[in-house]
């Protein structure tokens, strides 16, 4: 009698009922072929156990322990933080935008659509955004580096920050869209202001954790704010690869048109 392999697997997994288990035990005693097959299944299980045992001994990162202990902040503070930052930023924008950023002035109130709480927690020490002394939010760390150095065409998977497209804004500054690829990330627009990249929009990704939402078709509703901002601010067409290379050589410093 040949015992099917799935029965033998279930035997080594401890999943058989009493009668079937006894049948396999008898076969194991009497049939060298069954012994050989059972040994193979047991060996695989042991190999897997051994290979993955060390992972359990690794120290757990503090941020995960903290996430358990803090009993998850409710959504409300996120909103308050966003409001606070937006207000702070709007005040700064009023101060700075009139001369340097006429084209963006009307957008001051909606500059930061969603500032994701726990941003620095997500990215560990690699802070991607920071608030500068004047209250505006500027790119930092990996994001700033990506904005300054990467071409749109150089899209590599597993990057924290990916550049979407680049364009010259009506204000005369270079602007680049970006997406952040970890955790509660989002997409945004950064424009060159002196030697820094000022964040003009950061829309959280539409992912609210609800299961069963559409998969690929959702691209069109991902951040309508970003799309409309690009449409209203772009001067001509997005930069070509050559255009990006030239802008990069110039440090993304454009002379505003007068």
């Amino acid at each position: 009698m040949t015992i099917p392999d799935d029965i033998l697997m279930a035997f080594t997994d401890g999943e058989l009922d009493e009668a079937t288990r006894q049948m396999v035990e008898a076969a194991e005693r009497d049939d060298p072929e069954v012994r050989r097959r059972l040994a193979a299944h047991r060996q695989l299980r042991a190999q897997l156990q051994t290979a993955y045992a060390a992972t359990l001994d690794e120290p757990v990162p503090e941020r995960l322990l903290a996430a358990v202990r803090k009993h998850a902040a409710p959504p409300a503070p996120v909103t308050r933080l966003a409001d606070k930052r937006a207000a702070k930023n709007a005040a700064a924008a009023r101060k700075f935008s009139i001369r340097a950023w006429p084209a963006f002035g009307s957008l001051a109130a909606s500059i930061l659509v969603g500032f994701v709480l726990g941003y620095t927690v997500w990215h560990g020490s690699d802070e991607l955004l920071k608030t500068s002394a004047d209250g505006s939010v500027v790119a930092a760390g990996t994001l700033a580096k990506a904005l300054s150095t990467e071409l749109s065409a150089e899209r590599a998977p597993d990057r924290v920050a990916t550049i979407g497209l680049s364009f010259l804004a009506k204000s005369g500054a270079y602007c680049r869209t970006f997406s952040l690829s970890r955790g509660n990330a989002g997409a945004g627009l950064a424009c060159r202001e002196g030697y820094r990249w000022r964040i003009h929009l950061l829309a959280p990704s539409a992912n609210d954790g609800s299961a069963g939402s559409e998969y690929r078709t959702a691209g069109s509703n991902d951040s309508p704010q970003l799309r409309s901002l690009i449409e209203s601010e772009i001067q001509g067409e997005p930069l070509t690869r050559e255009g990006e290379e030239a802008a990069r050589r110039a440090g993304w410093l454009a002379v505003p048109e007068h």
Partner: protein, 170 residues
């Protein structure tokens, strides 16, 4: 909320489970950074949804399931971003390692990484994490028959890869 157990007690149990959650998440995402991110999302979700955990259900299975769902959400949101930023590249496969014939020695982990996701997760939950079939099927949201057939195919593929690697090196 479970009436028999304090939140503090559940938090302590979750901390105990963190090493296994991380291990499962690594098999799920195949990337340690993504794994920890997804565990963190899952913890935060779990703690805000403790009322959805039935006290007769296993805490580890419930958390594995939340980790898996958090990863599905993350992949969906990445797909949306990709669609926004590079529609022409939307079909590009990301990191699915094909059988690499030039690899002369295959570790158990490398062999696992080559399994299709559904088989890898079945193997991970049953043979690495030690869940009963019933619990693993719950985590993956599939009938038990589906779970056992994925598990069987995963095992066969792993055995074939590991034997082949032994044959090359010996």
């Amino acid at each position: 909320m479970s009436t028999t157990e304090s939140t503090e007690n559940i938090q302590a149990r979750i901390i105990e489970l963190l090493p296994r959650l991380r291990r499962f998440a690594r098999n799920l995402t195949r990337n340690p950074h993504d794994a920890d991110d997804v565990v963190q999302i899952a913890i935060e979700r779990a703690l805000t949804r403790l009322d959805q955990w039935h006290r007769d259900a296993r805490l580890d299975s419930w958390l594995f399931r939340i980790v898996r769902n958090a990863w599905i959400d993350e992949l969906r949101s990445r797909a949306r971003r990709d669609a926004l930023f590079a529609p022409e590249e939307a079909g590009e496969a990301v990191g699915i390692a094909a059988m690499d014939r030039e690899v002369d020695r295959l570790s158990v982990e490398a062999a696992m990484a080559r399994l299709p996701e559904e088989q890898r997760l079945a193997v991970s939950l049953v043979l690495v994490e030690g869940l009963p079939y019933k619990e693993a099927a719950l985590v993956l949201d599939v009938p038990i028959g589906t779970l056992t057939s994925r598990l069987a195919r995963g095992r066969e593929a792993l055995q074939a890869m590991l034997q082949w690697a032994e044959g090359v090196t010996s």
